[in-house]
């Protein structure tokens, strides 16, 4: 063994000794703590937890973009959802039937890969099936209330329809190819839905502006 190889051997041996002796030492050091839960926001006197946000994301109970961190977006959605719920008088909209909720639950489970996948996921987010059913029940109540409060929107003007088609050629005519009349009808339908959604968004914005919610920093 040359001196160089011998030196290399000794260095590697030393490093190995240090590394192996370091393992038990490192194992005894406290592992970093995992944040399990905290208060994320309060909306209409209802507490929204970090685990709520995580559960809505994991169970895909709310739509969110494919951003790296969906937390801010989902929290905003939950705050707005709670503010809207607080506006619904108890008896104004009919309570959703259990069958409707079952159907929604089936759809939600399918999105996650089936009922078994849903059941496996629930304990990891701190939800039960009843919790999910309550979320779906509230979703249905919100939909019914919005349908009642915002039954429709004004008819768009021909100029607005023309602009919409120009801005959304794919959505209004190309695939599948449509006649100009069909494209205008489709554009008008989409635009009406957009205008209604704008009205809803404006209303929700007023709820937020009224100060019924705050985020915990």
């Amino acid at each position: 063994m040359s001196q160089r190889r011998l030196l290399g051997f000794l260095v590697r041996g030393l490093v190995a000794c240090v590394s192996t002796t370091a393992v038990p030492t490192a194992a005894q050091a406290p592992a970093p703590a995992e944040l399990v839960d905290r208060v994320a926001a309060v909306a209409a006197n209802q507490v929204i937890l970090l685990s709520d946000v995580r559960a809505f994301v994991a169970l895909r109970l709310v739509a969110f973009s494919a951003a790296a961190d969906p937390f801010p977006e989902v929290l905003t959605a939950l705050i707005e959802r709670q503010l809207v719920l607080s506006q619904i008088p108890a008896n104004l909209v009919a309570a959703p039937s259990e069958q409707e909720i079952d159907e929604r639950l089936g759809v939600a489970a399918t999105r996650l890969g089936g009922a078994e996948a849903l059941d496996a996921l629930l304990p990891t987010v701190g939800f039960t099936r009843d919790d999910v059913r309550q979320v779906l029940r509230d979703d249905l109540r919100i939909e019914r209330y919005l349908a009642r409060r915002f039954p429709g929107a004004r008819q768009p003007t021909p100029e607005e329809v023309r602009l919409w088609i120009a801005e959304h050629p794919d959505a209004t005519g190309r695939n599948p190819p449509q006649t100009p009349e069909q494209a205008r009808e489709e554009a008008s339908r989409q635009l009406t839905a957009r205008l209604r959604q704008d009205s809803i968004d404006a209303w929700v914005a007023t709820l937020v502006d009224r100060g019924g919610a705050y985020r915990v920093p």
């Binding site: 590394s19 194992a27 399990v36 006197n45 507490v47 937890l49 701190g126 039960t128 309550q134 029940r137």
Partner: protein
């Protein structure tokens, strides 16, 4: 990676996962919890009230659901800005750490610095709007509010910063420079002109701007101008501050409008009530709503006098710079009821219908009375099941005998046609949708049942009862509809209650927030809401009532919060403790009409002034429970009944006093009732004697339902009678034998009180009975039984009048006791002719059965029969019944008796907001024995009085007149008695 270093990989892989990676949440779930720690603002906490709310317990698998619930419980307390839970995986299991981050403030907000305003003017608005604890996210809103306050004070550039000092939120304020007035722009054309207006408002360019002062002056100025009939005057101001806030330009908008004249044209108007009917001058306004109301009031008033066709209109006329409001009155003829006839009333007698209708011949015809009468008949029929009865009054004007005189009265016959329609009875009562509550359980709540007449309002009250039942069972969103389906010919009706129950809300946890000195268990003991039980409305009301009744809290709120919807609610009882120690003191002058001996020894009534003062100190919440200890002392400067005093003034002193020490323990003896232990020491100067008493009283008091209270007690004490004013022969033997008497007394009482206000009741009743019994076997020197009945009823009448009537009946019986008394010394002549008293040594047995003076009944005075001075009532001086003894001696001093009756009636009439006039009639008397009670001896008085509603209760002045006057020792009783007091007479 080169081959030479590949050997390092397993080592690194072995080390990295352990040293740098935390277990994921999914990995932690289900692992056993090894330890749970709570850290409050970075410091470990073992507070039991917090630990109780944490549902993750060592030894159990980690459940995220329980973590979530624990976080919600803790956050719901309202003390924390955030609750964070972190977990560490260790070989022994998961270590959970709850970090509670307090709100930035605890306790009261503080303001410091160059405030320029009283701190209360800043703190007050903050606490009113944000509460005692300001959240971090609210600080900017508080700062904005403070800036507004300073802006109103003329400071447009205050510096305000917030910081936390020793856990308190401190606002450091520099009010900044006072803004000076730059330019003043006057809009409008007031008579005074610009200089006059500025002088009136105290404004000048370059002067200091004070918004509040300027607004107050503008308001006063506007009120003055409105008094000069400029009812449209409107004075306002606005400002534009410079960027640095040091100068403001002021815009004064002084619009006076035109002077207004109010005129009446046409027929005469009732001058006496014109200000009330057309309150333009009083309101200082000619708002169109006010004018319309005035026309209508005037018209309704005339119609109420019988001017059936009265019409009143108004118009605005502007001429020569003056606005006139002209009311045109057309009264028309007065109409009188010449007769009332009824037809079609087969099911109800004519007399009954006529009484219900209420309109009588000869009276002015008032259409509202006709409508009211028809409605009363309809309602009566409806209660009997005739739900479609029509009552049609037809007015037939008789031909005028003197048609050439249009102003003559018109006479109208009122023909009332009753179309009864079918009588409907309830055939069936059914329920739908009542899954949670059985139908027979709901049916038991109803008044509507098969066979009873159908009455719509009854059905509605039944519907509300069903709904209330569900609400009390926690069905907070329940909907109950009642439908009536009529059978053929409306003879029967099927009633169906349709219930949409919704979810039943269950109490998840009951959290108590805000206790500091008081133990949470004291609050919990009063909370009738229980975890796992329905969240009922009545339970919430009862909990609030009980907590308020403790008297320990300034404020009680019950909040119900949920997390994530569903059927569970956290009930948060938020209390704000009242100070544990209370101190009170006061002084005044008692003015009463009292009996005093005249030079001739006869009783003479004199108005006496007695300065008095009191001091009390109380400590509540002893040992964390709702126990209390109170000391009350009162002293009056009053002259004793000292007959030997050479001059009256020598007997003047602090002769009337009371010292009372009370200990109260609620829910003593395993919640049997409230225990009250009192020690007392007192001396009172009564008209006929001075009485010193001391003793101990033990009582257990228990509420029975909402309005009834029962009590049992025991009293041991000693009373000493001195300075008796009776003639020696009139002094009852018991008082001569036992001038100092020891009494050992058992007592019991029952009170039912439904008055709306104990100090100034306007409705409700008060009923009470109290019995006492003293026996020699338990240490009393004399034995007796004694019972007092007391009752009062209060009724609210139209126009806020209150009728009050009350009565008190006292009955007592003394147990016979034989005692031996030494015969009095006899006068003998000694051998030397000298006369001396010699004790014969003889003893004579005598039987006594009278009550001692301290226990006998007396009447007369400001709370009994108000035409008489204190205790002045009695039978005598002569009595005509064998064996009866007078209860007032020949000189007019009362001796008291074993029976007493007092009756009071009173009509309380509001005059202004704080002043009330009262007319009253009182009657009563005192008799020596129960068997000697005679109505013919009842003495009456009538009178009137004034009440002033003060913060300490109504201050009362009553002047009573005797309805008959008697003579004692050659002197006639005075006609009147004057009383000054606090509180209503009964």
């Amino acid at each position: 990676m080169n081959r030479g270093s590949a050997w390092l990989l397993p080592v690194v892989l072995l080390a990295v996962p352990v040293t740098s990676r935390a277990a994921t949440l999914a990995e932690l779930v289900g692992q056993p919890v090894a330890e749970v720690g709570v850290w409050r603002d970075g410091l470990a906490s073992q507070e039991r009230a917090i630990l109780e709310l944490i549902e993750t317990r060592p030894g159990e698998p980690l459940s995220l659901r329980r973590v979530r619930e624990s976080v919600v419980h803790l956050f719901t307390l309202g003390d924390y800005a955030d609750v964070q839970v972190s977990a560490t995986s260790e070989t022994r299991g998961v270590v959970l750490r709850y970090d509670l981050i307090s709100l930035r403030t605890r306790g009261e907000v503080e303001v410091r610095g160059n405030l320029g305003l009283p701190s209360a003017d800043l703190i007050g608005p903050i606490t009113r709007r944000f509460g005692r604890a300001v959240r971090a996210d609210q600080i900017s809103a508080v700062v904005a509010m403070l800036e507004d306050i300073y802006r109103d004070a003329g400071r447009f550039a205050p510096t305000i910063s917030a910081d936390t000092v020793n856990g308190r939120l401190v606002f450091d304020i520099d009010q900044g420079p006072a803004a000076l007035i730059g330019h003043i722009d006057l809009r409008g054309a007031p008579e005074e002109g610009r200089p006059g207006v500025l002088q009136r408002l105290g404004l000048e360019e370059g002067g200091v701007y004070d918004a509040a002062q300027l607004e107050a002056r503008l308001d006063a100025y506007e009120a003055d101008v409105r008094q000069r009939r400029y009812y449209e005057a409107r004075f306002r101001h606005d400002v534009s501050p410079s960027p640095d806030g040091r100068v403001v330009d002021v815009v004064l908008d002084v619009q006076t409008g035109s002077p207004v004249a109010v005129m009446f044209e046409g027929d005469d108007v009732p001058e006496a009530r014109l200000d009330e009917l057309v309150p333009i001058a009083r309101e200082g306004s000619i708002d169109e709503d006010l004018l319309e109301d005035s026309s209508l009031r005037l018209q309704t008033h005339l119609q109420g006098l019988g001017y059936r066709d009265a019409r009143v209109t108004h118009e605005r006329l502007e001429a020569s710079g003056e606005l006139s409001i002209v009311f045109t009155v057309d009264r028309g003829r007065i109409h009188r009821v010449a007769g009332v006839r009824f037809t079609g009333h087969d099911a109800v007698s004519e007399a009954e219908v006529a009484e219900l209708f209420g309109v009588q011949s000869g009276l002015p015809l008032v259409m509202s009375d006709i409508e009211r009468g028809a409605a009363a008949v309809r309602t009566f029929y409806a209660r009997q099941g005739y739900s479609n009865t029509q009552v049609i009054p037809v007015l037939d004007e008789l031909s005028p005998a003197d048609a050439d005189r249009p102003a003559a009265d018109a006479h109208v016959v009122c023909a009332v046609q009753v179309i009864e329609g079918p009588r409907t009875r309830v055939a069936d009562v059914a329920f739908r949708g009542n899954d949670a509550v059985a139908a027979d359980q709901l049916a038991a709540l109803l008044e509507t049942m098969p066979g009873v007449p159908y009455y719509g309002p009854r059905l509605e009250s039944d519907r509300q009862r069903v709904r209330a039942h569900y609400l009390n069972e926690g069905y907070e969103a329940v909907r109950v509809d009642a439908r009536a389906t009529f059978g053929e010919g409306d003879a029967t009706v099927d009633v169906t209650f349709e219930v949409v129950e919704g979810i039943q809300v269950i109490v998840d946890h009951v959290l108590v927030v805000g206790t500091d000195q008081i133990g949470p268990s004291t609050v919990r003991a009063e909370v009738t809401l229980r975890p796992g039980e329905p969240l009922g409305v009545d339970d919430q009301i009862e909990t609030r009532r009980r907590l308020n009744a403790l008297g320990l809290f300034r404020r009680v709120d019950i909040l119900t919060l949920s997390h994530g919807g569903g059927d569970r609610r956290e009930v948060v009882v938020v209390v704000e403790e009242a100070p544990a120690t209370s101190v009170g003191y006061g002084g005044g002058v008692e003015v009463t009409q009292r009996l005093r001996a005249s030079d001739a020894g006869a009783a003479a009534e004199r108005l006496e002034l007695a300065p008095r003062g009191f001091f009390e100190i109380g400590r509540r919440n002893l040992w964390g429970k709702n126990r209390s200890l109170d000391l009350f002392t009162r002293v009056s400067v009053r002259r004793k009944n000292d007959l030997d005093a050479p001059i009256p003034m020598s007997s003047l002193g602090l002769n009337e006093y009371r010292l009372l020490l009370n200990y109260r323990e609620p829910r003593a003896f395993g919640r049997a009732g409230d225990l009250l232990i009192s020690g007392f020491l007192e001396q009172t100067i009564r008209p006929s004697f001075d009485l010193f008493g001391r003793g101990v009283n033990v009582e257990v008091r228990r509420a029975v339902g909402y309005s009834m209270t029962g009590s049992v007690g025991y009293r041991y004490g000693q009373n000493r009678l001195t300075n008796a004013k009776f003639l020696a022969a009139e002094l009852p033997l018991v008082d001569r034998l036992f001038p100092t008497v020891t009494l050992s007394t058992l007592s019991s009482g029952l009170v039912r009180d439904t008055r709306d206000d104990p100090l100034e009741p306007t409705s409700g009743t008060f009923l009470g009975v109290e019995s006492e019994a003293a026996f020699r076997a338990i240490g009393s020197e004399v034995g007796f039984v004694k019972t007092s009945f007391q009752g009062a009823v209060f009724k609210q009448l139209p126009r806020d009048l209150v009728f009050a009537a009350g009565g008190r009946l006292g009955l007592a019986h003394g147990f016979s006791r034989t005692v031996t008394i030494r015969s009095p010394p006899v006068l003998v002549t000694l051998d030397d002719g000298v006369l001396v008293f010699r004790d014969t040594g003889e003893v004579t047995p005598v039987t006594i059965s009278a009550l001692p003076a301290s226990e006998r009944f007396f009447a007369g005075g400001d709370t009994t029969v108000r035409g008489f001075a204190l205790d002045r009532l009695g039978t005598g001086p002569l009595v005509d019944q064998p064996g009866e003894a007078p209860t007032i001696d020949p000189n007019g001093f009362p001796t008291g008796g074993n029976a007493m009756l007092v009756v009071n009636t009173e009509l309380r009439v509001p005059v202004t907001g704080a002043i009330q006039m009262v007319g009253f009639f009182d009657a009563g008397n005192v008799f020596d024995r129960v068997g000697h009670f005679r109505f013919g001896e009842i003495r009456g008085s009538a009178g009137f009085g004034v009440r002033y509603r003060s913060p300490v209760g109504p201050i009362r002045v009553d002047l009573g007149f005797k309805l008959d006057r008697r003579e004692f020792a050659g002197e006639r009783e005075p006609l009147t008695a004057l009383h000054f007091s606090i509180g209503q007479a009964f």
